[in-house]
């Protein structure tokens, strides 16, 4: 498992604990933004991973929106 995978899991667990769909989507979008320069520099492995993380975070965000969970403050 790569360090970025570990970071992804940590962030994912934090989002699931917080149950904030907006934060999940924001992190997903940030992952996509980070992927742009990596693709441009042809650092494909990490860039592809970031896209997968973005997919995962956005999916979690959508599920939280759908289920209408309240933010855990």
């Amino acid at each position: 498992m790569k360090p970025q995978d570990i970071l992804f899991i940590i962030l994912l667990l934090a989002i699931l604990w917080k149950r904030n769909p907006v934060w999940a989507v924001i992190i997903g979008l940030l992952s996509l933004i980070l992927a742009v320069p990596l693709f441009q520099l042809q650092i494909f492995f990490t860039a592809e991973r970031l896209v997968m993380y973005a997919f995962g975070f956005i999916l979690i965000g959508i599920m939280l929106f759908y289920l209408g969970k309240k933010d855990r403050n």
């Binding site: 693709f39 592809e48 896209v51 997968m52 973005a54 997919f55 956005i58 929106f65």
Partner: protein, 680 residues
Amino acid sequence: MQIILIPITVLIFTVFRNWFMPGYLAGYDSLFYFNESYDLYSIYPYAWNTIRESGFGGSFLPLLWGYPSNGFAVQIFGNMFGLDWSIIDRVAFYFPYLFIAFLSSWFVAKRLFVSSTFALLSGLIYTTNSYILLVMSGGQVHFGLAYALVPLAMYLYICLFQNLSKKSSKITQKKAVVIGKTLVIGIVLTLISMLDIRVLYVLLLGVGAYFIFSLRDIFVNRTFIAAAFSICILTLPIVVTMLHLSYWLIPMALLGGNPVDQLGSGYVLQEESVRFFSFAKLENSLALLHPNWPDNIFGKVGFMKPEFLLLPLLAFSALLFITNQNTIQKKYVVYFSILGLLGSFLAKGTNDPFGDVYLWMFNTIPGFTSFRDPSKWYILIALSYAFLIPFTLQSITAFFQKKKNFFQKYGHVITALLFIFYFAFLLRPTFTSEFTGTLRHSTLPNEYKQVKDYLTNQDSFYRVFWVPDIPHYAYFSNQHRAVSGNEYLRTTELEKVTMFLQSDKAEDELRNAGVKYVIVPYDSEEQIFISDRRFDEKKYNLLVKNLENIKWLTKIESFGKVQIYEIANPKNLFWSADTETGITYTMVNPVTYAVTIQNASQGDRLIFSEAYDSKWQADIDGTKVSSDQFTRYNSFVLPKEGNYSMQISYSPQEWVNKGFFLSVISFVSVLGALVFFRKR
């Protein structure tokens, strides 16, 4: 709104400018017919198609769903009005695609959740994204037209769900109106099915997702009868569609056969095949970027273009603007976001992550075998982004309009224009004249007009063996069939076709097949003589040189680079080994021939050189004789001697006829019901 329409119109016209100019539209999959070829299609469905199996005919049952899309266009515009194919192509397929795709997506976006101005961007995105551009430039017009209808079908279904949900403001709407709406949906689904049935499958998956979304609204706190009524209403469009497609479904159901098997030996249900066709990675699909963009060369996948990642960024940013929206708008944004992710996941096929899920679906879910090529799922992504992106832009504009005074009046124009310029940047490869397929100018080479005139000068039946493949502008008809050397020998290697022609068996084999001419084409579209995906003139020259040395091929004509060789004494469509037997025949239609035999001997074999199918039968004075296989053809053992007539027919046509009758009744009934419900 009018200001935005101008740059959008300019951009669309620039991308599709070739469609508005004289000349032919020549994509790899696009069609071309001379006027003399219009007899190939009819308005009536036939169970046998003479150009399948490379000019030896084949059962058309698995593909019968699509017969109207060519049949009506060719018969109405071709035979009735005598129009040239360059006009039919545009009037029947390409212009309707532009018109319907833009208007349906714009209309739906406007009705669902964006203003008129930003809804125009929906039309732009849906009509000119990289996926559909490569599909249309490749000439897959039927698929494109079905794709164009998807937003409309989706909108009609969403309206229906709204009517059935307890939060709908029209909960008291009369049942008659609801039923009327389902009938309209049924007609739209039928149209989509007749164009490309796979698009129907994709659409229904998207509708199914919305159904799951709406489960709570439709079924919670409802009576059993109300819930049952909802279920019936939701399935009614599919029932209507199935009734309309009876001409296809009934013979397929009764006569069996796996439609995928019928597509040919290349369409194999193997995991390797699915993996091979999974060209798009997750970053491609999520970015609505076709993996072959912009070259559109099969198998050539370019590096990821990061500028396309702004599309999913804009699309999914819509989720950040829904907290202050009303419930229904929130629901639409969440639903279309799910659709986008679902489409992205499926369109990547067997690639990471969780590629085995696609394989499992391919092997398990009924109908999923039609998606050996996962790129069809891009439809869901295009549909999703066409609505989400304008919503995001509208929300961003509204946000800044609260804060900046100068933005209040023209903010929507500025935002829309910025996006249009960005989208034009993505589409820049289409601005050059070298972009592929139908978006590039193509003219009918004079050589092919001359070949057509030469071949049509003879009324007798014969086949033409094109080496190695049938070119885009080849002439063929029911009377003069075209055979592809590659398909005949089930190879893609020119050397194997050449070796076959140089072999001892080739002369008799082609003569028995009714081949009168062997023709080397002029590769005007640079699709045939290829090395490393580039045109290779050496291959053409070597082929011509090899054919010159074959003694039984007599070179009789050249039209530019088109070389025509003749084979002496080819057999007719019907022939017998007994030279004393006289045979004359008339083709009534593709499934029926009237044959007259003179001086027949009992036990003689009548050869019918169409691809063997046991369902061909001869009716001789009430006695039915089934076809026996003779090499790759059909044959009938003559039961008696002398002179007599017989009818050769393809038996599945009987069920097609019955199914067609039911289809017509169903269609007329639906129209009548719509008039009735409208009056009520």
